[in-house]
Amino acid sequence: MKTILFIEDESALQKTVGLVLNQEGYEVLSALDGELGLKMAQKKRPDLILLDLILPKMHGFEVLKALKDNPETKDVPVIVLTNLEGISEVDKALELGATTYLVKASYTLEELVSKIKTALGDK
């Protein structure tokens, strides 16, 4: 079973996205802040990371940079999932090594799952 780490401080989103991904056959690990998310990524080595940007304790960009600077986590695909949609944020995330940048407001859950499957090579 593939593992997805979801770094997101909104527990409601953790529940909805977690439920759908579980039903699709993935194990979902939850981290409610950036610092914990980074620690869990290093310890659990997930197959994919879903990363919000506005996070307590450590900003999403800092988490992304730390993940990509670490040889052990640099190859884990990271999907940025946020509600920030400025061009500068998109460019920065892709520059730092994010696989995809998704704006929550623009996608349905089914579309999100489809993007995750594509990033994991399950589709």
Binding site: E10, L13, V20, I87, A105, T108, L109
Partner: protein, 321 residues
């Protein structure tokens, strides 16, 4: 009729006290009043300087003193005017920031709402009855409406803050329009309106932001359908004229009253007959469409007749970088 409106507008502009009240400013903080005062002082000082110069030409010191004194008063007023403009600009900046912060804060709960409804409707938790589905649909449509309004408010606040950026790339405008028309068919059928597209073949690609141009077309088409009268027709044209692609959308709707036509591209403006016809709408669609087209290097305009219909058009340059 035209002349009366024109005169009325001038009289409205001259009603300084009323205009200052509109901004919630006292007279000495209100730019219009200060400009008026400065104008009067300039006239008076010119007359005084002329009279003094004529009568007391032997005493140039007195004339110089009066001129210097008046100049200093004018300088103080100029400083006050600058300050009052600064206050207005600051108030405007704070308002834009407020709209931006509130809209951003609303996005997360709206995403939660949207995805939770989607899960309930999908039957992933339990099977859904038809009656339940009917009410879930109401929830979904209303949360979607809120999301659209929040998205529009965010764009407006970006435009106001000068942060409305555009990432230009090659775009097949004909295809974009076809996609928008396709996506609007359900809404059009529900509104008893037929969409007829006349799009020229083999049009060149243009450099624009495809998603933003799509939004501009969506806004124009949405209005054309929304304000159509029963069994209406919306005609869409796209053709190449010299170095431009010209888009035109013609409806047989309620039209825009002449008196409202100059205000139609202002944000939050909705004409009275539009409000009578449909209460929904934020008055942001045309403002956003205009900002997008102009930022893309194009032009936008319209002609309209009340109770007959409106024709909106825009042009986009073919070789713009």
């Amino acid at each position: 009729m035209e002349k009366t409106n024109w005169l009325q507008r001038i009289l409205e502009e001259l009603n300084i006290i009323n205009n200052c009240r509109k901004y919630g400013l006292s007279a000495f903080q209100c730019p219009q009043f200060l400009f008026f005062l400065m104008g009067i002082l300039i006239i008076l000082s010119t007359i005084t300087a002329y009279i003094l110069g004529n009568r007391y030409i032997e005493e140039p010191l007195l004339v110089a003193f009066v001129v210097i004194l008046t100049s200093e008063i004018l300088l103080v007023i100029a400083v006050l005017i600058t300050r009052s403009f600064e206050r207005l600009a600051e108030a405007n900046r704070l308002k834009s920031e407020f709209v931006s912060v509130v809209s951003h804060q609303l996005r997360s709960p709206l995403s939660n709402l949207k995805w939770s409804i989607e899960i309930l409707m999908s039957g992933r938790i339990k099977s859904v009855t038809e009656k339940e589905l009917e009410f879930y649909n109401i929830l979904r449509e209303n949360s979607q409406r809120m999301e659209e309004l929040v998205a529009d408010l965010l764009i407006v606040s970006r435009i106001d803050q000068g942060k409305f950026y555009m990432k230009k790339e090659e775009c097949d405008l004909a295809n974009t329009i076809k996609e928008v028309v396709q996506a609007s068919q359900i809404f059009a059928r529900a509104s008893n309106t037929e969409i007829i597209s006349k799009i020229e073949e083999n049009l060149p690609r243009i450099m624009v932001s495809p998603s933003q141009i799509k939004q501009a077309v969506e806004n124009l088409l949405d209005n054309a359908i929304r304000y159509s009268k029963d069994k209406g027709t919306v005609e869409i044209f796209l053709e190449k004229k010299n170095r431009y692609l010209c888009f035109m959308i013609k409806d047989s709707g309620v039209g825009i009253p002449k008196v409202d036509q100059r205000l139609i591209f202002q944000r939050f403006f909705r004409s009275d007959n539009a409000l009578r016809h449909k209460t929904e709408g934020s008055g942001l669609g045309l403002y956003i469409a205009k900002s997008i087209i102009e930022k893309s290097g194009g032009k936008i305009g319209f002609k309209s007749q009340e109770n007959v219909g409106s024709t909106f058009w825009f042009t986009l340059p073919i070789n713009a970088k």
